[in-house]
């Protein structure tokens, strides 16, 4: 039985959803794709009067297999490393035309931390009114899970496999936010698909702020991280609750806000759910050492951003997404 038969008005219902649908159904992301969820949330909060420049990556591939497109926004994909520059050109054009349409640039961590970084830095330096959104899934997923500058320390990828001589990625995850902060742009923040209200707030704040603004959205990849598709949000939440992915906001490079962690969870709770960290649970001394290393990184984040909540905040890792009956999150 097709959905139409079950609900004869499904198409009408879809057309009357009380939110803007920037990313439509029928896209070809994997089950439980964190990036698809993130892109959906970002475009819903930012749209509809926006244009998007999208770097090469899963997001581009799974949304636009011609003749279909899942986008309901003017959208352009050019190449891997130039999303920020294409967006800058769009912004320059719109500015010159005197139009108010805003420009977003979408890129994965590869298109942000690595190949797209130069264009991103240039765009920010020149002060374009562009919201650059990095969908951070911590590796090159489109090409089949290779390490990127964003891959966390010790994570397994196909180019950082664990073996007798190595324990996954040898290097640290690049502190992109600090680099972004050094550009002293008006607003930069990290967000997570596990905290959609917080994410939406940050998108809106970025849009309201204007100028070059930056958002790094932690977007789990069930395939690349090796977790069940239904755990996408749970895994993302644990990344925040352990301190491994701090949710922070910066204005002109100064820290202005964090999502405090009410109950700090041990990093093992987060890592255990993911195959990419499987080798850290082998029980040998190397595994123990790397587990401790990641715990120390989390501890350092918590200390650096003063993430430990007092337990009284309403808006913390436990309270930020409290639901209630009929609670229209997108009202």
């Amino acid at each position: 039985m097709s959905a139409e038969e079950a609900h004869p008005h499904l198409e009408t219902l879809r057309g009357h959803q009380p939110r803007f649908r920037g990313l439509e159904a029928g896209h070809r992301a994997c089950q439980g794709c964190g990036e698809a969820l993130a892109a959906r949330l970002v475009t819903e909060a930012a749209g509809p009067d926006v244009m998007v420049a999208n770097a090469t990556g899963c997001l581009e591939v799974f949304t636009t297999p011609w003749p279909q497109s899942a986008w309901r926004l003017p959208w352009i994909h050019s190449v891997f490393g130039n999303a920020a520059a294409v967006a800058a050109g769009m912004e320059a054009a719109l500015k010159q035309q005197g139009r108010r349409t805003r420009v977003l640039a979408f890129a994965g961590d590869g298109g942000t931390f690595d190949i797209g970084f130069q264009a991103l830095s240039g765009m920010m330096e020149r002060g374009h009114d562009v919201l650059f959104v990095c969908f951070d899934n911590e590796a090159y997923m489109n090409t089949g899970v290779q390490r990127s500058g964003s891959t966390p320390h010790a994570a397994m990828t196909n180019t950082s496999p664990p073996g007798t001589a190595r324990m996954g990625k040898r290097h640290m995850k690049k502190d992109i936010l600090a680099i972004i902060a050094a550009h002293r742009i008006p607003y930069a923040a990290t967000a997570s698909v596990a905290y959609p209200s917080d994410l939406r707030k940050k998108v809106r704040r970025a849009m309201d702020t204007g100028g070059p603004v930056f958002l790094q959205v932690h977007s789990p990849c069930p395939l690349g991280w090796g977790h069940d598709s239904d755990l996408t949000v749970q895994v993302a939440r644990l990344a925040v609750q352990t301190g491994l992915f701090p949710l922070v906001e910066m204005e002109r490079g100064e820290l202005i806000g964090t999502l405090p962690i009410r109950e700090v969870r041990p990093v093992a709770d987060y890592l255990r759910l993911q195959q990419r960290f499987r080798h850290l649970f082998a029980g040998d001394f190397r595994a123990e050492k790397e587990l401790e290393h990641l715990q120390a990184i989390a501890d350092r984040n918590i200390e650096r951003f003063e993430l430990r909540g007092t337990g009284k905040e309403r808006y913390d890792t436990e309270g930020a997404d409290t639901v209630h009956r009929g609670g229209d999150r997108w009202a």
Binding site: A3, L10, G26, L37, P196, D230, V323, G326, D328
Partner: protein, 562 residues
Amino acid sequence: MTQIPPGAFAQPGTSLEFRTGSWRVQRPVHRHRAAPCHAACPAGEDAQAYLARVEVGDLQGAWETLVSANPLPAITGRVCPHPCETACNRGQYDEAIGIHAVERFLGDEALRREWPYPVAAPAADAPRVAVVGAGPAGLAAAYHLLRGGCRVTLVEALAAAGGTVRTAIPRYRLPLDTLEVETARLLALPGLDFHPHTQLGRDVSLEELRSEHAALFLAPGRRKGREWNADFAIPGDLHTGLHLLETWVAEGTLPDHPGAVAIVGGGNTAVDLSRVLRRQGVPSVHLVTHQRIPAPGVPAEDAMRANPREVAQAVEEGVTIHEHRGVRRLILRGERVVGMELVHMKKLPDADGRLQRVAFEGTETVLHVDHVIPAIGQEVDPAGFEALVERGRIPVDPWWGRVQGQTHLFAGGDARGDHGSVSEAVGDGRRAALGILAVLAGEALEAPVPPEPVPFSDLNLHYFEPAPAAREPVLPPQERRGLEEVEGGLDLHGVRHEAHRCLSCGECLACDNCWTLCPDQAVLKTRERAADGSHYVFDYDYCKGCGICARECPTGYIRMES
């Protein structure tokens, strides 16, 4: 044929042509499942349903939802031990919802505002059903029979309706006014003929009732104190607990003024009596029970059957409770009790898995008292229906309450002998009424499968914030002297707070989580409730079956099914 435009651009939203639903191996479905409060309520109340209405401010609707199961909420809100709260999943999170307070509030509001019961006058040719006993079971049965379109003849041996609620519950728990008004509103319903002072076997016979009515419901209660069949000597001045309690409720005094009393039993009678004795000035009141004080984490079968709040108040009032204890023997000086020997005791499963009391040798202690009062239960007074009674109770089929070997004769309430609370009696009356209606309609009676409550582990608690329960005002122990009600009620604010705390187990909260977190835009929101009771529709043409909606559903309302 789709032609390739210059640069191979694509039109917006055309991905809808691609049905990703074919990728799915499991599908999310909305499964309304019973909340633990609902599953645990002997009266069949769906507390979650009326809490939901309270939260949105629909108080009368909430009361109507409530009285669709239980017509006596002002009474049960005060006297029921509320197993719903023991079962409440929120109890494992922070504190159970104060359902009793909400129930009581709605009951009182209905009395104050005179909300009419949702019952229409029966048709002229409506079948007539007799109900014996106007206690909670009889009143509930009469009410549900009226709702089902019957006329009801309600006979009561005493002068007024209420049964045990009237005779054995102290007024400080249930003010007389509440009892009078709520029962009077029921008795005034159209189609109900109430006959007080009419005792079965004396004023009217079973056969007479049978000949004049299409069906019968017997709820005579258990008014005869059970004999203490302990294998030790019995003191000459033994009074049963119920007798003493009824005396105090009726006359406001007790025959003796002893210095130290031990009450044996863990039910409401025992606890009420212990508190009455304290109010009478007995300095040392002991309560001996083989169970434990009800508390979170104490399994239901090991907890005293009395209302947990009453137990707590008894302790506040100076009653000493000896948990997990049984009486090994009484210590007599002649016929006079001077003390008793207690032993540690617990119910444990035997070889057949049935729970049996086990005493642990070598744990004996002596308690010095000058009175022992057994409050271990009562029996049915079989006058007028002797043939139906076996070993002090009327054996019935457990769900509908139809008397064994009978077709149109049902029984319930304390007379069943397998339970004894007011809400259990209300439930008996309701189910028997539904059974009678089915029998009259020529339908076969089949016991429904009780709903499986949503376990705590199926909830996603990340989405809730801890919040302490609202507390009703309670009279300080030193001021609990007379008949003044010990517990006050919550105000509207408190009641709404409790409703807001409800986790909505197994029911759609309309919280938008599934709609917000679906990566595939496969959850659509509806303006009205969807056919399945949710506020959302799964678009299976696009749902890939990732399971995020089910995993993140706060209430366990979404399940993944193959």
